[in-house]
């Protein structure tokens, strides 16, 4: 017995314990769901039948997961022995394409090919479900993630209420098109295209109003305040029946007409978007490209460098004449703008909007896209958003046994945690972030307020 406990204390033993524990959690996550009458059905089967702890090992699933644990332990041990070799080999292999990518013509061809793929895409994927998902869940979320990336990635501010700006954009659209219970401004019903400037102004004003008092606060206070802001916007949208239609959505109790589609009436050109998702896809694609270009330019501008400086060391930034508050508020307002765009598209495309679309969970979902893709990396965020949203929509469309739609947030939460622990720079790291994190790990550069508990 004593020998057993001793062998569990060795690094090998610890790896074994961690592997088994991880796989047990994975087994719970992917296993059957419990319910009110049998709240423990997931882990131990029916409560009445298998109260015994040995109920845990009743099914063959557990045997399978023990095998997985063994595999995990083996891979882990191998990685510790050969990991550095593998990693250097991989980075050697990656340097050649990287060098090629630095050439301008190669880059331009690559971008042109990407856009071509984006244009052809809806003609390859012809399923009705995936076409509407491409607009509502992928393109719109890429827009949202790009916006949050400005706040979290560029400026290093954690905004947990980002969905509020999305909601303001959507409700502003419903308002100026005369589709809310409250009358439109000046009684004029506008086309959603004209809702864009209104929505942008409104979200930017909201960003400035929220940001000016709260951006002086420490990072973690800011996170809580923005979280509360998001909640409050949802509470108001849910309860102001006379203005927003409350929980009945933009139509209100009376079932007012829906939000009109986009339409163009320019001289001889008349075009009206319809319920067909493909035209909406192209419209959103244009918006996405617009924002990617704008944010890339911004990143390498004076403003972008100021954000980096503030993020890395606020005191130093201030001492060279950067006003941190001004630039932080700017990040808030600019990031909010893309959420406003996303709101306009969502409102026009889905015709009716409901407060249930704009919950805290959506904020966390967007945050997961940014973190997974790579904070501060525009390419990473866009790719991360596409990957995660496609995966989650696939799970929604063809759920594996035991998967419920609400389980998604469990996976997203785990993803946030795992990314932060194992790859904080994300899928496609931005160069600045990567350098920052390496510096911080070497114990220099970053202001480190958090107690490490270990002497270097």
């Amino acid at each position: 017995m004593r020998r057993l406990t001793e062998s569990l204390r060795t690094p090998t033993g610890r790896r074994a314990i961690t592997s088994i524990a991880t796989m047990a959690v994975v087994a719970l996550m992917t296993g059957p769901s419990g319910s009110a009458t049998e709240p423990t059905a997931g882990p131990v089967g029916s409560y009445g039948e298998r109260v015994s702890i040995f109920g845990l090992f009743a099914g063959p699933r557990w045997f399978l997961f023990l095998i997985f644990a063994a595999i995990m332990w083996g891979v882990w041990t191998l990685w510790l022995q050969r990991g550095t070799q593998l990693r250097s080999a991989a980075s050697m292999a990656l340097t050649v394409p990287k060098r090629g990518f630095a050439l301008k013509p190669v880059r331009l061809v690559f971008y042109a090919a990407l856009i071509a793929v984006g244009v052809v895409f809806p003609h390859v994927v012809t399923s009705q479900y995936w076409q509407s998902v491409m607009v509502e869940q992928i393109a719109v979320f890429v827009l949202l993630a790009l916006g949050l990336n400005v706040v979290v990635g560029f400026a290093g501010l954690l905004d947990l209420g980002f969905v509020a700006f999305y909601a303001i954009g959507a409700y502003a659209t419903a308002w100026v098109t005369g589709s809310l219970p409250t009358p439109a401004p000046f009684g004029v019903h506008l086309n959603p295209f004209f809702a864009i400037p209104v929505a942008i102004v409104l979200v930017m004003v909201a960003g400035i109003l929220l940001g000016t008092p709260t951006l002086r606060l420490r990072g973690d206070y800011l996170a809580i305040v923005t979280l509360g802001f998001g909640e409050i916007i949802t509470i108001f949208a849910n309860n102001l029946y006379g203005i927003t239609g409350g929980s009945y959505g933009s139509g209100g109790v009376t079932g007012k007409h829906g939000i009109p589609h986009f339409s163009i009436n320019l001289g001889p050109i008349h075009y009206r978007w319809t319920l067909n998702p493909v035209p909406y896809y192209y419209l959103t694609l244009v918006f996405v490209i617009m924002f990617i270009v704008a944010f890339s330019l911004l990143e390498h501008s004076r403003v972008g460098r100021a954000w980096t400086a503030i993020r890395e060391d606020e005191v130093a930034a201030e001492s060279v004449g950067i006003n941190p508050l001004k630039y932080k508020v700017m990040a808030f307002a600019i990031g909010a703008a893309s959420a406003g765009f996303a709101g306009v598209v969502t409102a026009a495309q889905t015709i009716f909007i409901f407060p249930a679309t704009f919950t805290l969970q959506v904020s966390i979902n967007i945050l997961a896209l940014v973190i997974f893709g790579g904070m501060g990396s525009i390419a990473g965020v866009a790719v991360g958003a596409m990957v995660i949203q496609t995966a989650s929509m696939y799970l929604l469309h063809t759920p594996p046994a035991g998967y419920q739609p609400a389980d998604l947030y469990m996976y997203l939460g785990a993803l946030l945690m795992v990314t932060m622990i194992f790859r904080p720079m994300g899928l496609i790291p931005s160069r600045r972030r990567r350098r920052e994190i390496t510096l911080a790990e070497a114990g220099e550069g970053h202001m480190n307020e958090v107690l490490t508990g270990e002497n270097p």
């Binding site: 719970l28 973690d220 309860n239 609400a406 939460g413 945690m417 932060m420």
Partner: protein, 320 residues
Amino acid sequence: MGAFGHYLVSHFSTLRLEFWGLLVGGVANGLIYGMVAVGYTLVYGVLRLINFAHSEIVMTGGFTSYFVLRGVIGTSIPNGWATVGVLVVGMVAGGVSGAVMAMLVERVAYRPLRRRRAPQLAYLISAIGASYFLFNLAGKEFGRVLLSVPQPYINHPIFSIFGAPVQLYYLVIVIASVGMLILADQFVGRTRLGRGLRAVAQDSETASLMGVDVNRTIALTFALGGALGGIGGFLLGLGTGVVYTMGFVPALKAFTAAVLGGIGNLRGAMIGGILLGVVESLSIAFVQPAYIDVVAFGILVLVLLVRPTGILGERLGRAA
């Protein structure tokens, strides 16, 4: 006077009629907030960060005590000393599970980052991830519906204050939470481990040179805060039932209470909790119930803007 004057007069008359009843409910809720707030304040005192996963520790305490109570009393209602025994068992279940979960969260979501000297943002994101993971996992395993906790007593009024009846449930909250808060205060202030905790909060490097095991102290901090949070979860569940999202709103309010009293300050957390509970409860006379959370949140923003150090001030070095 006008319409607003009329609004004030009519609502103040409601307030006068309901005052004592609202006050009793507010103090009871506030004590639970205070107990949960201790977890925030202790972790903040030592690590200088807000443990976003604390809401799930409350939830863990609620669910564990639910299952234990279901096993212990089933459908019968005990009385006399049996009731006291069941309540103690529920508190122990909530407290132990809360402490274990808090230590697990520290181990999994924080320690790898501490080892890597990650920036503050990384801790917040990791903890938010942990929180989302935990409560959605609970939702999956136990169903996403409200489960009512088996009651160990019949909840009738025991006595009344100025005509406002005080139910047994409120009495249980007051005794349990005041007892636990005093215990925690004494533990941090008087014991050897508590002294280590304060030393780490004051200056971790010096403390480690003086022979305090910093990692163990951080784990202890999480455990202590987690135990109180878990008991808070048990008391919450006893009143309103348990559900996977039960931790979120009380924890947000507990955080407000911690800031209100001065974060990092243990007694401040208790005072802030009671104050927030009472203000929130009395505001029922003025606003619709749907907006109660807005009131609590408004208080948070106001305190952060006007006096971010809270009522008693941040006494970081002396977490007592």
